[in-house]
Amino acid sequence: MSRQDHGLWVGRSYLHFLLPVPTLSAVEIDLLDRAIGAADGWTPAAVTDSGPVLSRAWETPAKAELRLAVLSWYPAFVTLGPPGRSGRAARSARERVAELVLSQGGFLVGDPELARVHERLADRWARAVALQREIDELEFALEQRQCVQCGSAAARRAAHCPTCRRRFTGAEDVASDDQHRGVEAALHDRVAQLTALARGEGIFAQWPAAAAGSRPGASADGGPGAGAGAGGAADAASAAPDRPVPRVVPHR
């Protein structure tokens, strides 16, 4: 990290960051465990085995403590720092986490940006929920067809209406296929939107690193920079995973 990066946060022992994933999963948690535990004997504490990852804590043999809290989803917005007195070990861990975040295509959010980013992410979460709902309904529609006679739903590939037991005609099959092609297109569009939300697109102009080579620190509205150097951006470009977007509330 450059010296400039230390200016992102007023305190010297905490950091806030975004990761281009919808929520924290076991993959990110594992990376954090490794980065934090690389020195000073940090080990995870008070690990919960079920439910979505909302928080996590680490501690050293000297009883120093670090705590992570998820502030929002789509993308994952996280803060990490000591819940009490800070020390050298906490500051050192913060440095390593910051490097990890940048290497994973994440984005460091400074104190001045905290409230604004949080507010925007609240809106994104609402959009993500709405999109997921739409996706669920489109997937539901994709599996169904409507009987023109009795109006009841049948399976898409059904030869007969399950209610009135009428055989679907060839013309109805063609119409159903056309309708399903439209539904598929809409579904693809919603999935793309949800993926973009999960990757964090639209929060900052130059993040995530799809706009390759740009410095991820500059905000979309020209606000104060809140990121790392170009190296981190380049890493992010290569590391940003094109992986499945899980459901809005995944389980670890």
Binding site: W9, L54, L71, P83, A115, W125, A158, A159, R165, H188
Partner: protein
């Protein structure tokens, strides 16, 4: 066991499409994270920025004040040096001390905020867990509701003919069908003439469910019944004469009238006690040989006198050949036993189920006579039932040896009285071929004989196809054979183009699931996979394995409990079903 008794009529189950009832998505959105962003980071960041931004100016001020400090000390009062010293200290604090203080303050504020976040996490976790539990319940319920096996029944409420199958097939179908009919409030009469006890397990199911059941196995229980109970002399004449004629296919039609008249008058003469086959036999014998009537005889002197009054010498001489035949036949039935005070086996009572079965104890000749007598009594009872309240179903298992005219008469009477008639034929030959289609719906089970299978295939129509898809339904037994055959209809009737396919399941059984063999594939096997999107995780899979076109080979290869239902009133006809009660178990898992 009682779970087999349901209110909805069913003859078996049709493997439908699991996605026929795709559950609607869980409507409740997940709770979000109610974190309040703190205001201090922005404020403190501004203060820190201002503090660090003034450092150059403050450094100059501090240096200037530091220079002034000794000057004031030397050239003015020493006290005057305090002022520049204060300025130095103040400038240093503002430029370097205050940022550190702001950082420490930020750390402290952050620690408090993090603790607030931890408290929020506890609440959010609980809310999420509750939401997840509700979603899980919803999906589990939806999954339970999406049962690929749907009850299958004929659309018609009138006669249904079942051809082919084995005793096991019939027992399975009767078990699936009758228990559901009883559950729906219908009264059932099962006349099992097959000598295979196909209705024996039926009473167990219904008894366990608390339904009133009556059952007789003949001739073992002949001592407890009187087959002729409740019949008038005229009825006895017709019943016995028709039964004898049916057992003697070569007998002249005119002989039936004479037989019926002779038996009727003999029965009419037996007025002092209920008529039984034994008393009837004695009476008929007494017509030819007066010594048959005596002190120890089953008929009294008065009854013999009544017989003699009508059967004068002329009549006796002319009827002698027939009398010998009648006495021989009645004697065979009489030898089986019977009690004058015994009950009638086929009465119209309140039993939800009445099973009368013909066992295989007796030789064929006697069994055939008894079979025909039982059928004639049933025909007589159906006439007498009239249009009673409530649904009534009569099942005749093993109708192969019954005369076509008798079956058609029974059908006619049953239709008139609003009674559903179900006839089970072991084979599709002789009179059965002439009866096929005479009812409403026809069910074909496994037909091993090539000619019979050909007849059935021609009747169903060879343009129909059943598309078998891969499916898996495992059973917890130790099956020696594992199959993955399945069934789904893709297209049939007037649309020869397969417009889709249904899916899926397989099961391991000691016999095939619907098919005991892998039928010739009309289309080469292929598999398709489709996914809405890798991102959503939503995907479905469909693999088509085999096409079964209606053919004699296909009908010969049906598994024992599989059947094809052809019902002109059902637009989805023909349908492929299975009546194995084990399907219930696989559905419950």
């Amino acid at each position: 066991m009682s779970s087999l008794v349901v209110r909805e009529e069913r003859w078996g189950w049709e493997f439908g499409e699991p996605d026929n009832r795709v559950p609607a998505p869980f409507p409740e959105p997940p709770p979000g994270l109610a974190t309040r962003p703190p205001a201090w980071p922005l404020r403190l960041a501004g203060q820190l920025k201002r503090a660090t931004g003034r450092r150059d100016g403050l450094a100059k001020v501090a240096v200037g004040a530091a220079v002034l400090c000794p000057v004031s000390w030397i050239f003015a009062l020493p006290v005057a040096a305090l002022a520049p010293a204060g300025i130095v200290v103040g400038a240093l604090w503002l430029g370097w001390g205050r940022p550190g203080w702001l950082r420490r303050r930020a750390n402290a504020r952050y620690a408090r905020w993090l603790c607030d976040c931890a408290a929020r996490d506890i609440r959010a976790s609980e809310e999420l867990a509750q939401w997840a539990a509700r979603r899980s319940d919803y999906e589990r319920n939806a999954q339970a509701a999406s049962d690929p096996w749907s009850p299958l029944r004929p659309a018609t409420t009138e006669r249904v003919d079942v051809f082919g199958g084995t005793a096991r097939s019939w027992a399975a179908m009767l078990r699936a069908m009758d228990s559901s009919l009883a559950g729906s409030g219908a009264r059932l009469t099962v006349l099992d003439l097959s000598q295979d006890q196909v209705g024996r397990g039926l009473g167990n199911v219904l008894s366990a469910a608390g339904a009133p059941v009556a059952g007789f196995s003949l001739p073992e229980q002949m001592g407890a019944v009187n087959l002729l109970s409740g019949l008038s002399a005229e009825d006895i004449g017709v019943v016995v004469a028709e039964a004898i004629r049916a057992a003697e296919p070569d007998a002249a039609a005119a002989a039936v009238t004479m037989d019926a008249t002779l038996i009727q008058h003999a029965a009419a003469a037996l007025a002092e006690a209920p008529v039984t086959f034994a008393r009837l036999h004695t009476a008929l014998r007494a017509v030819l040989d007066p010594r048959a009537a005596g002190e120890d005889s089953l008929i009294s002197r008065a009854e013999y006198a009544a017989l003699s009054e009508w059967l004068n010498e002329t009549v006796r001489k002319s009827a002698e050949p027939r009398l010998f035949r009648i006495i021989a036949a009645v004697g065979r039935i009489a030898a089986l036993g019977g009690d004058a005070s015994g009950v009638s086996v086929l009465v119209d009572d309140s039993s939800a189920l009445r099973v009368v079965e013909l066992s295989e104890r007796e030789p064929d000749l006697t069994s055939e006579l008894l079979r025909q007598v039982l059928f004639q009594i049933l025909l007589h009872q159906v006439r007498r039932f009239g249009r009673t309240g409530g649904r009534r179903v009569i099942v005749v298992a093993g109708a192969d040896t019954l005369r076509r005219a008798h079956i058609e008469r029974l059908d006619q009477v049953a239709r008139k009285n609003g009674i559903r008639l179900v006839l089970f034929f072991r084979h599709l030959r002789d009179d059965a071929t002439k009866l096929i289609g005479g009812g409403e719906a026809v069910v074909f089970m496994r037909l091993g004989n090539t000619k019979e299978a050909e007849q059935a295939a021609n009747f169903i129509g060879t343009e129909h196809r059943f598309v078998a898809s891969q499916f898996t339904v495992s059973r917890g037994t130790n099956p020696p054979v594992s199959t993955s055959d399945g069934t789904t209809r893709a297209a049939s009737g007037h649309d020869p183009v397969a417009s889709g396919s249904q899916s899926s399941g397989s099961r391991n059984l000691d016999y095939g699931w619907l098919f005991s063999y892998r039928g010739p594939s009309a289309d080469p096997s292929y598999g398709t996979q489709k996914s809405t999107s890798q991102q959503t995780g939503g995907s479905w899979e469909h693999q088509r394995a085999y096409d079964y076109t209606i053919s004699p080979t296909m009908l010969q290869g049906l598994s024992p409990t599989a059947f094809i239902l052809v019902d002109p009133r059902d637009p989805g006809s023909p349908r492929l079903g299975d009546c194995d009660p084990a399907i219930l178990d696989s559905r419950r898992r």
